[in-house]
């Protein structure tokens, strides 16, 4: 197993880096700074770290106002509290106003596994991607977390970045070909395409490795940018491999699987697609791996699903 890193700590390191790059980067905390990895930023740039307390509607509006004066606010808290709760503020104050604010939902998906559905976020991508002009990012490993944070800071406009809680294995080299808005072809293959995103991409990656050993030639794609979506890489995969399996720690409705199916349908491409994720239910609670197992998101389960679908 490769080295693993804490996604929040990694995000915090990336925030310091973009803070050094841009004097206008501001960290906004809703009593969420320490848990979001922002302590190093706070220590290094105390005047650019603003605390608001548990005020998740308010912070989005304040961030919007700060952005009108040229700041680049990063609003960071537990994922549902910066997406579902202040959705209208996100839509109007950031999306409709086109403000240069970066919202980071941490401990996303079911990574707050023991805390239950109030703290889990299985609808964040579905919600936020409906907002015109918002870039939606879901990094797959610690190297990619840094890439997306830098990319978000480099572009002008609202972004949503989701990161998990559990340690993530390092999958990619520092200089791997990351391009915002483009899927990353991790390995080529001709039998089936496995498309993963975010926290559970590593499990899709492990499943692909196992399938390869069993003689299945899997094409593996990492989608770090869910919006704007790289239609080309999916259409090419559909044409060249036929069958597609998507893997995400999100509801089947509105997430990666939905986006892939919408892409194929819009282009009139008829391809078999299997979506692995959480179907129409509030998730259970318990240890993280047990929960992933409940929803078929462990590497062996992904492998078996792919084999059964071929």
């Amino acid at each position: 197993m490769s080295e693993s890193k804490d996604p929040r700590k990694t995000f915090g390191e990336a925030l310091v880096e973009v803070g050094e790059k841009y004097g206008t980067v501001i960290a906004i905390s809703a009593d969420s700074s320490g848990g979001s990895g922002m302590t190093p930023f706070k220590e290094k740039f105390p005047d650019r770290h603003l605390e608001f307390g548990i005020m998740e509607q308010g912070v989005i509006g304040f961030a919007s106002g700060l952005a009108t004066t040229g700041k680049i606010p990063f609003v960071v808290a537990i994922a549902p509290f910066v997406t579902a709760r202040p959705f209208e503020m996100f839509r109007n104050d950031l999306g409709y106003m086109r403000q240069n604010v970066k919202v980071v939902g941490r401990c996303a998906g079911i990574s707050y596994s023991d805390l239950g559905p109030t703290h889990q976020s299985l609808d964040d991508v579905a919600l936020i991607r409906t907002i015109p002009g918002v870039t939606v990012l879901n990094p797959a490993d610690p190297v990619e977390i840094k890439k997306v944070v830098h990319a978000a800071a480099d572009i002008t406009g609202p972004c949503y970045i989701k990161i998990g809680k559990e340690k993530m294995p390092v999958l990619f080299e520092e200089n791997y070909p990351f391009e915002l808005g483009k899927g990353y072809l991790v390995r080529d293959g001709k039998d089936v395409t496995l498309i993963g995103t975010g926290t559970v991409f590593a499990n899709a990656h492990a499943a692909a490795e196992a399938l390869k050993k069993e003689g299945v030639d899997v094409r593996l794609i990492d989608i770090h940018t869910l919006k704007p979506f790289d239609s080309g890489i999916v259409l090419k995969a559909a044409k060249e491999t036929g069958t597609i399996v998507t893997v995400e720690e999100h509801y089947l409705a509105g997430g990666l699987g939905s986006i892939v199916c919408e892409t194929l349908a819009r282009e009139g491409v008829c391809t078999k697609v299997k979506m692995i994720g959480i179907d129409d239910q509030f998730a259970s609670n318990g240890p993280y791996d047990d929960l992933l197992g409940l929803y078929g998101l462990l590497p062996d389960q992904i492998k078996e699903t792919v084999k059964g679908f071929l």
Binding site: D47, L50, F52, G53, M55, Q57, G58, V59, I60, G61, F62, A63, S64, G65, L66, A67, T68, T69, G70, K71, P73, E88, M89, N92, D93, Y96, M97, R98
Partner: protein
């Protein structure tokens, strides 16, 4: 302090802004007249006496900002911006048409001088607070002015913003609460009372003042004297009359949104003409 001549000029300008509002209603045949007319005297004082703005440089870095939190009162915002020269008066005649630069709630990307996209209530104070914070961080002396509705105060998000603005000592922000005492379902105190307003705002750490929101001299005085308390944001509770200036619509809940009949518009125009004559005397 205003000289008598300055006061008279501002009163005439306010009347012209009211006429502009009516012009928009005439174009669109309907609109949120009540709240627009209750804030005309406040926006006139701000745009013609108080705010550091330049219609030729609407994005000037050190400009003062205005946020209309109660975005449905935007007919007054459009009317005063046109009067101040941000765009031609003819734009007012497009109200209600397809793709007009004057939507039923303001869009900052459509018109110069509009600073935020409000309309969903309970957003403006947070946005304005962020502006005030950013301007302070940049060491600019710019001020942020906000108009909120009294019915709007039932949105809980406002009180998040009120607390944060006080906590962060945003004494470069002045809020006017347009207390016209009516909202779409009736008297505000009967629908959902947030009275006593002054005590509530004070308890949230704001400097407060209650004024007559149609007395331009008093509005100017308050705006010139804020912050009312050092290190605190300030709020003016402005007692106003809904649909001020049109006798048959004043203080009537059914004129929150007016589907205007031709004869009603004609009567309103005659009433404005009568005010005009009085001001000329």
């Amino acid at each position: 302090m205003l000289t008598p001549q300055e006061l008279k000029t501002l009163q005439k300008t306010a009347l012209q802004v009211r006429k502009n509002v009516l012009r928009e209603i005439k174009a669109g045949k309907m609109g949120h007249i009540g709240g627009a007319l209750s804030i005309v005297d406040i926006v006139t004082a701000l745009y013609f006496k108080i705010m550091n703005i330049d219609p030729k440089k609407p994005l000037m870095r050190d400009r003062d900002r205005f946020v209309l939190s109660a975005g449905h009162k935007c007919l007054a915002l459009y009317a005063v911006l046109a009067e101040r020269g941000f765009f031609d008066h003819s734009v007012l005649d497009t109200y209600g048409s397809l793709g007009s630069k004057l939507p039923g709630h303001p869009d900052m990307h459509k018109l110069p001088g509009v600073e935020s996209n409000t309309g969903a209530l309970g957003h403006g104070l947070s946005i304005a607070g962020g502006m005030a914070m950013g301007l302070k961080m940049d060491g600019l002396g710019s001020k942020v002015y906000v108009i909120m509705g009294d019915g709007e105060l039932a949105e809980g998000s406002n009180w998040e913003a009120a607390a944060a603005s006080s906590h962060h000592k945003l004494d470069n922000m002045l809020v006017f609460v347009d207390r016209n005492s009516l909202q779409i379902s009736g008297r505000t105190v009967e629908v959902m009372s947030y009275e006593p307003l002054e005590e509530r705002w004070r308890s949230f750490g704001w400097g407060t003042r209650i004024i007559n929101g149609h007395d331009i001299e008093t509005i100017v005085k308050a705006a010139e004297e804020f912050p009312f308390e050092k290190g605190k944001p300030s709020v003016v509770i402005a007692d106003t009359v809904k649909s001020k200036g049109i006798s048959f619509a004043e203080d009537r809940v059914d004129f929150h949104y007016w589907k205007a009949k031709e004869e009603e518009i004609l009567q309103a125009e005659q009433e404005f003409a009568a005010i005009d004559r009085r001001l000329e005397e």
